[in-house]
Symmetry: C2
Subunit: 277 residues, 2 copies
């Protein structure tokens, strides 16, 4: 693991690191914010999964998470959204290929050689983090934005017992029923659209739910509402009687101005779960 940069931030450290990823078969970059409490011992971990076109950097610089993570003594991990490098398959569209890994393991060519983001986020990166940072891996929560909201919800419901809480900003809530999902799942996973449901937050919510609290924020003026399909997730949450708060936020769009506005709430929500018992 190489240190790309470290900056003092809110009495802690905002670092950027890179490493050779076995899962993705390429060099991967990620960011970690460590609060000052990490100098004394392991701290709880909040994952932030980013949306289409993002790298590790967007949320790190624009979401304002460090202020609240510092307040609660929580580390924040910002992974990249796809494999990277010249020999990694890509597509001209912004929503397929690099910057658009969708947090699944591709089974199809040309993607499967590198696009193993589910294994990367679920297995490889946690192991690397546990080895190199003072993190309490028994206290993890996860959140994300848009494609990263899909990733957070999907991983939280799939990796049972891993995360204490899950939240999302404007998640792609029903990818198997949306052009943000169907195109990518077909490319990465093949044409059997029944198999896609195991990667779809609304389907997972209907089938199994999440063993902990859920928080969803969705702006009413989001320019991508038709692609995000929050109604599918809201319906599944209510039908399941899932422990969840689903907020339609009047006037907000899909941007980081929306995310930063409600980041304080999300970090406090996760802190409640991370420090429980």
């Amino acid at each position: 693991m190489k240190t790309v940069s470290e900056n003092a931030s809110f009495r802690g450290t905002q670092g950027v690191y890179s490493h050779a990823s076995t899962a993705c078969n390429c060099e991967m970059t990620f960011a970690v914010f460590l609060p000052e409490e990490a100098r004394l011992g392991p701290v709880p971990v909040l994952w932030f999964l980013s949306g289409l076109t993002c790298t590790h950097e967007n949320a790190m610089t624009k979401a304002g998470a460090q202020a609240w993570a510092a307040e609660h003594g929580i580390a924040v991990v910002f992974p990249d959204t796809s494999p990277r490098g010249e020999d990694v398959a890509d597509d001209d569209a912004f929503d397929l290929g690099k910057g658009a890994g969708f947090y699944v393991n591709a089974t199809q060519d040309p993607w499967k050689k590198h696009f193993q983001m589910q294994s990367y986020i679920a297995d490889e990166l946690p192991a690397l983090l546990a080895e190199n940072f003072p993190l309490d891996m028994d206290r993890q929560s996860i959140c994300g934005h848009s494609m990263g909201g899909h990733g957070a919800l999907m991983l939280a419901m799939t990796l049972e017992g891993r995360f204490k809480s899950v939240s999302a900003f404007a998640p792609i809530a029903n990818p198997s029923g949306s052009d943000w999902g169907r195109k990518q799942f077909a490319a990465y996973l093949g044409d059997d659209d029944q198999s896609w449901q195991q990667f779809d937050a609304s389907c997972l919510m209907a089938q199994k739910g999440f063993d902990g609290p859920v928080l969803i924020d969705q702006g009413t003026e989001d320019q991508f509402l038709d692609l995000l399909k929050p109604e599918a997730l809201a319906s599944a949450i209510a039908t399941r009687r899932q422990n969840a708060t689903f907020r339609m936020q009047p006037g907000y769009d899909h941007s980081y101005f929306f995310i930063s506005t409600f980041m304080e709430d999300h970090v406090a929500f996760h802190a409640d779960a991370l420090y429980a018992d």
Copy 2:
């Protein structure tokens, strides 16, 4: 004036606007954050002047000011750092020409046709803002980072009675005695370096001071400490017995991670002054 974008942010609005500037003889872009209180009537105004290479956008997206401005019901104005456009003079160096206006009025060719940033910030933009936004122009304060810290301090001491308070993050504190200043002042203002002192925060502090509170934050690990010369300003503040707080912040560098860490303090500091009497 044209609206470039408006995004809901912290219950208010983060807008970006452009207009034909008479002072700079080109199209200029600026950003304004309006808190929700602005829907009911005029609100106090905090100016944020940015540093070298920045536009209106850097601080708007990375400084985290909106959270605290919303808390205190204060608007924040983010001007650009120089004139813009294909016919505007420039230099290959990042610290001269576009992105490096230094908030002075150039008297020398080829700069003087467009580089009239002092008039722009002191006169033209305030008049435009007063006409188009619900701002209480009798309650203004100013802050800035690096070159913008120089600009904030210089304008606060020059425009007597205009600003209730002034603060700076890692300001270029003594430009007439630094390679960040001498090169630019020579280009924009000519070779008479005695005349530069009227644009130098440390000289102005020694000569006249500021009729209000001053807050300076400077990181001890700032990679540009030798160019910023905080010791000149600290000395002038102490010698004058200026109402001021000067903080050397251990471990912090010159980045927005430093700015965002202390933005809450700066906005609260200005709020105290803006709401006084």
